[in-house]
């Protein structure tokens, strides 16, 4: 069996990549994708720990995370479409009227 650490390490790297994606990408859709990546990384860690402890709880948590992720994406994309209608761009740098 592969030790839990390996999975967690992978999850840590994936999480960081997700964070980086949010930080450096300007395409709002890709930013959302990066957030999804972060959540998935967390899910991986949860499942790995669940396996280590032989407790199903971790897997149940993943179930909730996936649901929440779906809800967030739905609202986010709806918003994006709304903004796109008037701004004609999905560049997140373009929504920067509010400042100071």
């Amino acid at each position: 069996m592969v030790p839990t650490t390996f999975y967690v390490l992978l999850s840590a790297v994936l999480f960081t990549i997700g964070v980086l994606g949010v930080l450096i990408r300007r395409n709002a859709i890709v930013v959302f994708m990066s957030v999804e990546l972060m959540l998935n990384a967390a899910n991986l860690a949860l499942v790995a720990y669940a396996r280590e402890r032989l407790a199903v709880d971790g897997q149940v948590l993943v179930f909730f995370v996936i649901t929440v992720a779906a809800a967030e994406v739905a609202v986010g994309l709806a918003l994006l479409v709304a903004i796109f209608k008037s701004k004609r761009t999905a560049d997140i740098d373009e929504v920067s009227m509010l400042r100071g």
Binding site: G18, F32, I92, V95, R99, G100
Partner: protein, 487 residues
Amino acid sequence: MDSIQIPPVDFRLIAPLLVVTGWAMVLLLVDVFAIPANRKKLTGYLAIAGLVVAGLVAIPLWDVSGSTFSNMLVLDRYSLILTWIFLIIGALSITMALDYLPRHGIEQGEFYPLIMFAVAGMIVMAQGTDLIVLFLGVELLSITLYILTGFAYPRLTSEEAAMKYLVLGAFAAGFFIYGIALTYGAVGTTNLALIAERLADPAAETNQLLLLAGASLILIAFAFKVALVPFHMWTPDVYEGSPTPVAAFMSVGTKGAAFAGLLRILVTALPALQPFWLPVLGVLAALTMLIGNLGALSQTNVKRMLAYSSIGHAGYILLSIMVASERGAQAFLFYMLAYALTNLGAFAVVIALEQRSNATWSLDDFTGLYKRQPLLALAMAVFMFSLAGVPPTAGFMAKFYVFTTAYEGGLGWLVLIGVLTSALAVFFYLRVVIRMFMHEPQGDLEPALNRGLSTDIAIAGGLTLLFGIVPAPIIFLVERSLVAAGG
């Protein structure tokens, strides 16, 4: 295979929550099928009625305490008082919205049930004793707020605010869930009481590093929600962009709920990690008080000023949270109530002055207000002084309460920063007062007061003064609240 036995649920413990969510769902249907498009105000009134009913339902629960849903939810006086505060916040915000929405051409019946769902999320956070429940509470509140923030379409700033809030909120949620994962990995449970138990148990061999990392990420997620520096950046933009009643709701609601959850976590689950979180939160509190107040100083947009001010106040509230004791909880409750009333009142005045949809919320709108609307100006002055912490207002009492609590809790240096920054804070609150009292009115901007707003302002102003002069009953109330150490 056996059929699944759903465990018994003590419905008394979730009665207010049940009323709010149930009512909201029914209201959604009623709104669609029974209420004509030009009478959407009715939906608002029904929503307020629902919140009131929930508040009444909660009264007999004063002497009830217990936990249900496999110890994922408790009812104690701490959560009960918070529930009331949240219901008040919800009801006052809806009152503000009643005329605001049609005036700005953004009236839709869904607004009111959404506020109720947000209140439900807040109550969940006050009652939750499991990380996953707290997470879902945060998400329920947040997702609702993303929608409400973007409610003022076609105002692009509203959409922009929603977008920013959503991106950063989802980002923070990622950290939150990763923190939960690490905590789960460290102790094998997400139940707050069990976490503390495992921590205290030498045989359990909890992984300290993992737990610390998990705790850090969870703290950060909450720091984002309550807008602690440097996780505060979304606040001014989102407040400015969102419809003003929503900003009002957010400024007090999110803070109250997130702090409620944070305090529960610190008291119930993580007292053993105090050597770690105390310095972290200490630095955050200091930064928050400084940056919040400094940021407010250079604002000419009242809405943004109030946003920065709310950041500063998060710092003061954090002082009471850091004490993480019964006293701290009491100070927090009192501060929360005082702050909620004051801030909602201030926002209500802002709404009264915001009659055009292209309002800039400029300080200029307040010029000579005393001459035009003496009562409104006086009320605003009360709110400003309460926010600044000048006696005899609720804000002063609350600050005094928090500062003494923190001082006794050994947070002397933070109290020093708190006192000095609140001295600084007078600057920008005073600026509004100067505009109102020390200038002659210019232009023809007449405040649009209506019954709902007047009621709001009268209630908020009256109570702000009353709690400053006679705070004893409220203190009596919060003194009897205890944060249950798990269920």
